[in-house]
Symmetry: C2
């Protein structure tokens, strides 16, 4: 008898459900719109309905499902299966999501923070497959972090650790959404890159960035595209941004020396244009420098599937 | 039959050897001068001789000793029992210390970095007794760090993690001994405090600090003493220094949310004069602020004994 696990990635836009094998492969997946402004009962019911129909479509009985895991954004009380709060959802605080889902499907339900869960997914089946200790950093709207030690998510007391974007890299620096100033997230997120690019566009009216984009259409690609065309202002934005990313990554290496450091997020599409100077900067300033083997740094390979796979392996 | 473990704290000044019980208490201890500029063979022989005579003086047979643990400064290859390098010792690189000690005393020998070992000691018998996850920060000549997760030292690949003093808190800041700029250690160590105090003494000739101390006698206490007497320049040094400490501690909490955060080092003698404003600053800027229970922060209780006890519990 096959044993499957269900992994659910509860995102701000989509609920993605996957049937995951014991090897960490996705057998089948399906998604529905989240409707994050809806009451939580409706969202949970859609998670259950999507799971049930996915199993039916694949002729898999619930008897063959070990458990269900959910990766959800926000602050999660994993011990009790409760979403403490999630600022992009309207469903209020202290939602007992595991218990609510169990009312629809009578299986054990585990829940974890989405960034932690994605890190676990990459360890199970992605860039860190076969390894035990990994740190994953996702450069998106914010800077998300996940810590895997001995093959397990490390989340700290109250599931409140691994806020890796909220280390300070610039004292008295830019205000961060967390209330502190100078956080890594306020410099290395895609949001920060766009802010830095817009500032450079204003400062350098002649930059090619102002030909191809306006302050309304500026994106995380703007400065990279300009730099590749030889635009000095674009290059300056890129150089500084890469340093911001690298500084936080050096902190991560000095703290954890993980078997692998994984970075994710759309910015990774820049490939070696981002990674090569980033690695050079890291190698230059990391603790013990060249006296130790080079830190392995890889780009996440699973994309959104990391959330499904990692959730399925929660326990 | 009683089972004892031997813990050896190899310091720059003294070699301290202890007979440690299974409960983590020191039954007896003894120390000899390190003579850190001597060849490593002599140092290892003194470690062995000190152990042998301590056991004899306490009428304990080697048969009752399970193993020997050493906490040593510098970069340690714990898997192979090798001191890779230690910058305050003259004994060269890649010293196979565990193997050398075994030639004198035929018992299993384990070795760990002294900061990691001290953290383990505090978990076994000190401020974190009974807990599983602890971060320890020692504010001394540098800023040392130790990570204990699930009751075990976490040291990362090549035993090279837990360099907690080498996170950056000031971009393009003060040069650090590690080659990076702006490290926490370069702002929050006792060495940094003395530098900051001396700079304030030069800048404020009227400060009481210049009455009680000279630039030759200035110490980590100078600014605190002056501040307590109402000296504005001294108070300014203290206020800034406490913020530097707090910024790094906030990083540690956001990353680990440990069950307990332990701080050690002579500066802790300032007690609430240091701890109260430090806690206030941390509570204000830590991630999720008052939505979570206050982070437990305690002062190390074992002093130098932490190194002996932690070493004894290496494995």
């Amino acid at each position: 008898m096959a044993n499957y696990k269900i992994g659910i990635d509860l995102g701000g836009t989509n609920i993605a459900v996957g049937i995951v094998t014991e090897d960490g492969a996705i057998l089948a997946k399906k998604s529905v719109k989240t409707g994050s402004q809806r009451p939580f009962e409706e969202i949970v019911k859609d998670m259950a309905d999507c799971t049930t129909s996915l199993l039916e479509e694949n002729n898999i009985s619930l008897d063959n499902v070990l458990h269900i895991g959910i990766g959800a954004p926000g602050s999660i009380d994993t011990a009790n299966g409760v979403v403490v709060y999630a600022n992009n959802f309207k469903y209020g605080e202290n939602i007992p999501m595991a218990e609510l889902l169990r009312k629809h499907i009578d299986k054990p339900v585990y829940i974890g923070n989405d960034a932690n869960v994605a890190a676990l997914g990459e360890v199970i089946s992605g860039a860190a497959k076969g390894l035990k200790n990994a740190i994953m950093i996702t450069l998106g709207t914010g800077v998300g972090g996940g810590i895997v030690i001995n093959g397990q998510i490390y989340e700290g007391q109250h599931s409140a650790g691994a806020e890796l974007g909220h280390i300070m890299i610039v004292q008295n620096g830019e205000p961060c959404s967390c209330g502190r100033n100078g956080c890594w997230e306020a410099y290395a997120s895609a949001t920060a890159l766009i802010r830095q690019t817009a500032a450079a566009m204003k400062e350098h009216p002649d930059s090619i960035m102002n030909k191809d984009y306006t302050l309304e259409t500026v994106s995380g690609r703007t400065a990279f595209e300009a730099a590749k065309k030889g635009d000095a202002a674009g290059q300056e934005v890129v150089d500084k941004y890469i340093k911001y990313i690298a500084e936080g990554l050096i902190d991560m290496i000095n703290i954890f020396r993980p078997e692998i450091l994984i970075i994710g997020g759309g910015i990774c599409n820049e490939g070696d244009y981002l990674l090569k100077p980033m690695r050079e900067y890291i190698n230059k300033y990391v603790y013990a420098g060249s006296r130790l083997p080079e830190q392995k740094i890889a780009v996440a390979t699973l994309g959104n599937d990391a959330g499904i796979i990692g959730a399925a392996f929660l326990r």
